[in-house]
């Protein structure tokens, strides 16, 4: 069997043959074919199964509105479910499989549902499967889930890449049919920056599917000439295979360019698809119209399709869907199918025209006042039954039927901002209404201008209006000559005959009966209709079905169609691959990495890194022979406390604050006072949110009379800076204070331990004795013989400690110098784990305690909030609920049995108390193993914890079923008097 239905003509490249397979069987086609046109050329009409009843289906359309011919395209990791065969461009080696059937497309066991359809009416599932209650998850639902779904996904990672791009233009034109091309020519010739996008792989829109002439040449040739001219204009960007899928605010549109879908695999370095974000000053919707069917009994058989599609397959692809063809139409446009196919030598057996009276087509059996009432042929159309004007019925043998119920303007994009479409009686269709996206207007068939002449006229005149709004002068040129025939529709939505099913939404199997049942049960609002019957919820978003469903409901309720409701479409216009929307942000590139200045050095040392926000920080630095992370961390802790340790603390936020009001400014943003801080000193600062909850903490140093340096936590570096700018610009706009974030400008290392000073004396150029540089000292200095640096004598570890900062570009050199200088002291470099052990040993709060839910009082820092001055958060921190005497207080926790592990997240319970919420005492916030204590230790928030020091309780973790007796202790486990850090 080789392309038995291929007829003459069309825009396919017959000199080249492409091989492809469908369900394992080999076929041939030509460049220019879609998968659907090629299969039809090979005599294959059956391409899919419907969702619910598993009815055999062929293509209903020749475009992106296709509900039926959905296939799994490609295989392996590139398997792509639900691809519409009607838009899949044929390439050599294409593989496709039918989907949602078992064991085969022609013999599908699940079509038992079709036999049982009487029991499966709209919404039946809401009324049953309720007994016994446990059976829903165990029995009914698993069966339903397995049966449902359409195509199947590969579980392998998508091997293709995706890109994103940005475009800016004066005018975006959506659709390159006659109206879009005319608008592009008009605007492009005038010099405006134009983007012309069309979803098809050939410009011209319906001109490619029709035999119309423009300026005495074929429409397709006119389109080619227009495109040729446009491609010479540098201000016009032609985007083929590009679907504008969404309209967003302020002239922004999203578009998907299918860069490589017409190839077996993308070319090297090319993405599969690109997501374009198009910023336009104006936009023209020239997306044409979509034909809609008429519902009649068994109107869903393979071989029955839209009349315009039947003619498109003939005119554009040189395919006759059947050897004998009939047409069923309620308008003049449908008749063109018969005329065109007859002209191509196809046997047109009848034109069933529901309109009574009027002229008859010459040389064709044109049955006026007649309706198709039924069809035959299980896997493909064999015959139709026609009720003639005289009431008699006649069966006509035919293998293809083109149906036209009129055309719906493709107004989808215009309704993405939820504007309601407007009903036009003369064309029996909705057109774009008021209140759509600003500066978007529709032209041509998308606006209800159905003839070629009207399309050209509206495209030109709208472009001229926009040019004038843009202040661009344009020459008006004569419009090319084109047909201007009216569509002459007399609405017919469904054929009222018989007891069988007449499909409205073919993919979801919604029939006229379902709409009637919805009406009977009072689901009469359009939203109820949609939700109850699933009308329009399929992958085509009801492009061919919504209006018919609405019309049937209107008839049942006795209201007009616009009274019944309108259909508002949601983005995207056609479904978009997730990969396209994600672009390059996947895998390791999901978010950027931020590396500290010591990163390269640490990598050389074999450091283990941990994600801290976007930063990668050294977690610990294993040495040879260490097989468990605890060995490394215990060693780092002990070595630091014994001698000296070095830690990269660059990730902490750093903000320079300068100006004559800098001190007053800090008094506003910190709960404690900074204006009184001596020059050359640091102070621990506590920052509250306006609601009185602790926002952040850190040390801030006064480097000069009007010059402070603030540090923030790593996590809040960005949000603190934003907050400070808010306070500066919005609350105290006349304060003389300037801020700059210097987080990335300075590489900063902590040097901690009894030998910290000795080590740093080898690096820092000045005297750093306790007298010259006492605890909490701060100042500008130089290192390594003249490099500018900042030095702070601050300690998170509880040891004698300094933080030394140099310009970031010297960070790598400094870590190497520090390590070298530290060799004689057996200095270690430690990571975040050791940092965590030492801060918990000292009872310092960090991320797990600074959880955005805790007050200074909770942290044992209540006295830091000065009531004498007005600072952010002070007033609301005094609310009663934040000052409960039995509220949470920070405590230390030790296991009574030193060998018992603790878990952060365990809850406090009294010994013997029942495990219920009323007895919940709080929770362990942070836990580490302390090599000095010789056991796990933890911090926790315990209700009235300050009154429970010394008490024994339990730390219970139901998740790993541990229940540990603990002692509540002061959170200052190590050197509570702070003697070491003053040393």
């Amino acid at each position: 069997m080789s392309q038995i239905n291929r007829i003459a003509g069309g825009q396919i490249e017959r000199s080249k043959t492409l091989n492809f397979t469908f369900d394992g069987k080999s076929y041939t086609g030509h460049p220019g074919d879609t998968l659907a046109s090629a299969l039809l050329a090979n005599g294959v009409r059956l391409m899919g199964r419907s969702f619910k009843y598993h009815r055999p289906r062929g293509p209903l359309s020749a475009g992106s509105e296709e509900p039926n011919a959905l296939v799994e395209l490609r295989s392996g990791a590139r398997q792509e479910p639900n691809t519409r065969a009607t838009v899949a461009e044929l390439f050599d080696g294409l593989e496709a499989k039918s989907q949602n059937r078992w064991p085969s497309l022609a013999f599908d066991m699940m079509s038992i549902n079709d036999r049982l359809s009487g029991f499966l009416a709209a919404g039946f599932y809401y009324k049953t499967f309720m007994w016994p209650a446990a059976f829903w998850e165990k029995v009914y639902e698993p069966i339903i889930r397995r049966a449902a779904g359409l195509g199947s996904m590969s579980t392998l990672e998508d091997p293709d890449s995706y890109d994103k791009g940005f475009l800016h233009c004066d005018l975006l034109i959506i659709g390159a049919g006659p109206s879009g091309l005319m608008a592009a020519l008009t605007a492009g010739r005038a010099g405006a920056r134009v983007v012309l996008a069309d979803e098809d792989f050939r410009f011209g829109g319906r001109l490619n599917a029709e035999t119309h002439e423009i300026s005495d040449m074929s429409g397709a040739d006119w389109a080619s000439e227009a495109v040729a001219e446009l491609s010479t204009l540098p201000n016009v960007r032609l985007m083929m295979r590009t679907t504008v899928v969404g309209a967003f605010d302020h002239g922004i549109y999203s578009a998907v360019e299918r860069v490589s879908d017409h190839l077996a695999v993308p070319l090297p370095g090319k993405p599969r698809q690109t997501l374009w974000r198009i910023y336009s000053k104006h936009a023209i919707l020239a997306a044409g119209a979509t034909e809609r069917p008429v519902a009649f009994e068994n109107n869903d058989r393979p071989g029955i399709m839209m009349a315009g599609s039947l003619r498109a397959y003939a005119n554009r692809w040189g395919v006759s869907v059947g050897d004998r063809v009939a047409v069923f139409s309620n308008n003049d446009d449908g008749l063109r199918t018969a005329v065109d196919l007859q002209a191509k030598g196809v046997d047109v057996v009848a034109v069933v025209d529901s309109r009574e009276g009027g002229a008859l087509l010459p040389g064709i059996r044109h049955l006026r006042g007649a309706q198709v009432i039924d069809s035959e042929g299980r896997l493909g159309l064999k015959a139709i039954t026609v009720r003639l004007a005289n009431g008699k019925t006649e069966t006509i043998q035919t293998t293809a039927l083109g149906v036209s119920g009129g055309w719906n303007p493709n107004l989808n994009i215009s309704s993405h901002h939820r504007s309601k479409p407007h009903w036009r009686e003369d064309i029996a269709a909705f057109v774009p209404g008021e209140g759509g996206p600003v500066n978007l207007s529709a032209v041509g068939a998308a606006n209800g201008a159905m003839s070629t002449h009207a399309a050209l006229t509206s495209g030109q005149s709208r472009a001229l209006d926009i040019l004038s709004a843009l202040g661009v002068t344009a020459k008006t040129t004569a419009l090319p000559k084109a047909e201007d025939a009216p569509i002459s529709i007399r609405p017919l939505w469904y054929v009222n005959h018989g007891k069988g099913r007449a499909w409205i939404d073919q993919q979801n199997d919604v029939t006229v009966k379902d709409v009637k049942l919805a009406h009977q049960e009072n689901f009469t609002s359009v939203e109820h209709l949609k939700r109850y019957t699933t009308l329009g919820m399929a992958t085509d978003q009801g492009k061919t079905s919504n209006v018919i469903g609405l019309a049937v409901m209107a008839e049942l309720t006795g209201r007009s169609i616009p009274e019944t409701g309108t259909t508002v479409y949601r983005p995207p216009y056609t479904p978009v691959a997730m990969g396209t929307l994600a672009g390059r942000s996947r895998g390791k590139e999901f978010k950027p990495f931020r590396h500290t200045p010591s990163h390269k050095w640490a990598e050389e040392q074999g450091a283990v890194f941990v994600e801290v926000g976007m930063w990668l920080r050294t977690q610990w630095l294993p040495r040879a022979g260490e097989t468990h992370w605890r060995q490394s961390v215990d060693r780092e802790v002990l070595a630091t406390r014994k001698s000296v340790g070095i830690c990269d603390v660059t990730t902490l936020g750093k903000i320079d604050i300068q100006g004559t009001d800098a001190g007053a400014f800090l008094d506003k943003v910190y709960a404690n006072t900074f204006s009184t801080l001596a020059i050359g000193k640091c102070r621990y600062g506590l920052m509250l949110r306006e609601d009185g909850i602790v926002f952040d903490d850190g040390t801030t140093a006064r480097m000069g009379e009007h010059e402070y340096v603030m540090t923030t936590t790593t996590a809040n570096a960005v949000s603190v800076f934003r907050h400070l700018e808010f306070v500066r610009q919005c609350l105290y706009p006349d304060m003389d204070v300037q801020l700059i974030s210097t987080t990335e400008a300075w590489a900063q290392y902590s040097v901690a331990g009894p030998n910290a000073r000795k080590l740093l004396e080898k690096i820092v150029d000045q005297d750093i004795s306790d007298v010259a540089f006492p605890y909490m000292g701060a100042g500008n200095t130089t290192v390594c013989g003249g490099l500018r640096a900042r030095l702070f004598r601050i300690s998170f570890s509880g040891e004698l400690a300094f933080e030394i900062a140099v310009p970031t570009r010297y960070g790598d050199a400094l870590i190497r110098r520090l390590v070298e200088a530290g060799q004689e002291f057996d200095a270690v470099v430690y990571g975040t784990e050791t940092l965590g052990v030492m801060r918990i040993e000292k009872g310092h709060v960090a991320g797990n305690e600074l959880n955005g839910q805790s007050t200074a009082l909770n942290m044992g820092l209540g006295k830091m909030v000065s009531k004498k001055k007005d600072s952010i958060g002070m007033p609301l921190s005094q609310r009663e609920g934040l000052n409960d005497l039995d509220g949470y207080r920070l405590v230390g926790v030790k296991p009574v049995d030193k060998d018992q592990p603790l878990n952060a997240g365990s809850h406090f319970l009294e010994i013997g108390a029942a495990p219920v919420a009323e007895n919940d005492g709080g929770w362990l916030t942070s836990m580490v193993y302390s090599p000095h204590i010789g056991s796990h230790i933890a911090l926790g928030y315990l209700k009235a914890g300050d009154q429970k020091i010394g008490k024994h309780m339990r730390a219970v973790n139901f998740l790993n079923k541990t229940d540990v007796e603990i002692e509540i202790v002061s959170p200052h486990f190590f050197d509570p008097e702070g003697e070491r850090l003053r040393g």
């Binding site: 967003f248 605010d249 302020h250 002239g251 922004i252 910023y279 901002h417 600003v438 009001d661 007053a664 306006e690 609601d691 960005v718 934003r722 700018e725 808010f726 610009q729 919005c730 609350l731 105290y732 706009p733 006349d734 304060m735 001055k869 007005d870 600072s871 002070m874 007033p875 609301l876 005094q878 609310r879």
Partner: protein, 95 residues
């Protein structure tokens, strides 16, 4: 969305961080007798109109300006963009 920054011209809204109603500029006196009541109303209650809304946006990926943007919450149309500092001064804020 696009915000027409008074200094930098039209910028994508993605460069900005949103805060909320411009009334957040009108911070009460924290040392006044009924500060808690005044701060409750200031911090927690919102007009939340369906229509024109004057709101604070911060140009985090830009020049770090706080802006007051007049935007319709039904249509998202922006009719005015001002420097928040100017608005704050007009509202009587200083040091």
């Amino acid at each position: 969305m696009i915000i027409n920054h008074p200094i930098l011209g039209p910028r994508d809204a993605q460069e900005f961080v949103y805060l909320g109603d411009e009334s957040l500029i009108a911070r009460p006196d924290g040392l006044a007798p009924d500060a808690i009541g005044a701060f409750h109303d200031y911090l927690y209650l919102r007009n939340n109109p369906a229509g024109e809304h004057r709101e604070l946006w911060y140009h985090e990926q830009g020049d770090r300006s706080w802006l007051v943007v007049t935007r319709n919450t039904v249509t998202h149309v922006i009719t005015k963009v001002e420097m928040a500092r100017d608005v704050a001064r007009r509202m009587g804020r200083s040091k």
